[in-house]
């Protein structure tokens, strides 16, 4: 139940990819028949990804090596290409590290990075955004939905604010795309990051949607593939798989989301109700269908993960101890949690193969796990000021 970290590739996706790994070894830039077949497959996948987000044309989709590259390309590419417009670039306090660190990098290159705060649910505070948004702002980058706490941002409203100052609007839809309907035309999004694996496609492939007319400087220079914006021979099997995953997501998203949302709410309810001093991270309803993020006072996340791991249940935590750094997640701190509260977080991301029985099984395990760890812990309600 840790699908945010990696999803199984859909069997239908694998099947679609196989021919391109075994026999269709053409390079899409070659003129001969194999090359033309590769080119056709590439453009077919591009059209499917474009259709998923209702892009105006398939040429707006640039294939990359994944969401991290797409975010880097959008942020550095738009900033560098539009320097004459100003130096201010804006994002939120709950972005993925590929966004955070791209912004930090650009700060060392003379740009002025502004991180807009979020409220206790993780919604970007619109008044704060309006305050820092100037005529000299190049672009604003906001996550569609944060994968850690699941909160789905008010993208339409943010888009209106951003465009009122003629800034470009980049949206990181890594966790959201394939789970919730996204319409770049209707929501007026200029650049959109999409990941293949997050919608049951293969890893190592993603895309950046770039609206026609938005100037972007490439990260990779070379043979001029992807309209000169992303050189390097295309990862054809990966791209074909991504296209198939996008096609399936478009068709089955509605059904899957309804099912997952039901499962999610059953899970959240069962994790919180029987256990005192337990809380939900993120918004109760405006959240991704797959995201279950809770916290228990007085105990630490990794010790809960280990306890679950011993019985064969795999989850994730917002805790420092599991990550490479010792700081708790910046996302949990940004929604106003104290360090010790952030350390007590536990996150499940459901997949379409998870069942109500599995959810009930974990619900049944948690009270004993929490009770045992609380018995070991020296913390009490008084010490945590709750």
């Amino acid at each position: 139940m840790d699908h945010a970290a990696g999803k199984p590739v859909e069997p239908r996706v694998t099947e679609a990819m196989l021919p391109y790994m075994e026999s269709s070894f053409g390079n899409a830039s070659s003129l001969h028949v194999f090359g033309q077949e590769a080119k056709r497959a590439l453009e077919d996948a591009r059209a499917k990804v474009a259709a998923l987000i209702n892009a105006e044309k398939r040429e707006s989709i640039i294939f990359t090596s994944g969401a991290t590259e797409s975010n880097n390309m959008a942020i550095k590419g738009v900033a560098n290409r539009n320097k004459d417009h100003g130096t201010r670039i804006i994002t939120s306090a709950i972005e993925h590290m590929s966004v955070v660190n791209s912004f930090k990098f650009l700060t060392t290159r003379g740009f002025e990075s502004v991180f807009v705060p979020v409220d206790k649910y993780g919604f970007v505070i619109l008044e704060n955004l309006e305050k820092v948004l100037t005529d000299k702002t190049i672009f604003v980058s906001i996550v569609y939905a944060n994968g850690e706490i699941g909160t789905v941002e008010h993208i339409r409203e943010i888009s209106k604010i951003v465009h009122s100052k003629n800034a470009y609007f980049h949206v990181d839809a890594t966790a959201a795309c394939g789970q919730v309907p996204i319409d770049v035309k209707n929501e007026n999004i200029d650049l959109l990051t999409i990941s293949s694996n997050d919608m049951y496609g293969p890893k190592g492939v993603g895309a950046l949607y770039i609206k026609a007319g938005v100037p972007v400087e490439p990260l990779l220079h070379g043979g001029g593939q992807e309209r000169g914006l992303r050189s390097g021979t295309e990862n054809l099997p990966g791209i074909v798989g991504f296209g198939k995953a996008a096609e399936i997501a478009k068709r089955e998203m509605q059904t899957n989301s309804v099912q997952l949302t039901k499962l999610r709410d059953r899970f959240i309810d069962g994790l919180l109700k029987p256990i005192p001093y337990s809380f939900l991270n993120g918004h109760p309803t405006e959240r991704l269908p797959d995201n279950v993020s809770v916290r228990y006072s007085f105990i630490e996340g990794e010790s809960m993960l280990l306890s679950l791991d011993m019985i064969g249940v795999y989850a994730s935590s917002g805790s420092a101890c599991t990550a490479k750094t010792l700081e708790p997640s910046h996302v949990l701190l940004a929604i106003g949690l104290k360090h010790e509260e952030a350390h007590g977080s536990l996150m499940f991301t459901l997949g379409k193969e998870n069942t109500a029985e599995q959810v009930d099984y974990v619900i049944g395990l948690m009270p004993a796990i929490v009770k045992r760890l609380r018995a070991i812990s020296p913390l009490t309600p008084k010490e945590l000021n709750v």
């Binding site: 420092a320 101890c321 070991i376």
Partner: protein, 129 residues
């Protein structure tokens, strides 16, 4: 699994977990802010650690190191207790992941703090006495 079987065994079945209400010395190290907080309680008789218990808020290795140090220290003299190092604790557990060596390996410090607290209390008694 990032932990040794020994670490997991102590995590599953921590030894000497709990408090000593009439402890002769108490040592607390760490901070809930960092994600690790440990308290060690000791009972001293004839210069030896007659009883030792712990309470820990923290990750798997924080709990395992707490448990391990109570095993290493129980029955030892106070001098011997002061000589137990973080490295001794980690080695006895078959090693800890590098990222855990600093933050979650505080048990030796907690024991030393408890012994120092014991000495402080003795001194206070002498002054009073």
């Amino acid at each position: 699994m990032m932990y040794t079987e020994k670490v997991m065994e102590h995590f599953r079945n921590p030894r000497n977990m709990g408090e000593i209400p009439d402890a002769d010395g108490i040592g607390t190290v760490g901070n809930p802010v960092c994600g690790d907080l440990m308290t060690i309680y000791i009972k001293v008789k004839d210069g030896r650690l007659e009883d030792i218990k712990f309470k820990t808020f923290g990750c798997g290795s924080a709990i395992a190191t707490s448990s391990m140090i109570t095993e290493l220290a129980k029955g030892k003299t106070l001098e011997e207790g002061m000589k137990i190092t973080r490295a001794n604790v980690a080695d006895s557990l078959g090693g800890l992941p590098p990222v855990k060596m600093h933050c979650s390996n505080l048990a030796a410090d907690a024991l030393h703090a408890a012994i120092e607290d014991y000495f402080k209390r003795q001194k206070a008694k002498e002054v009073k006495g």
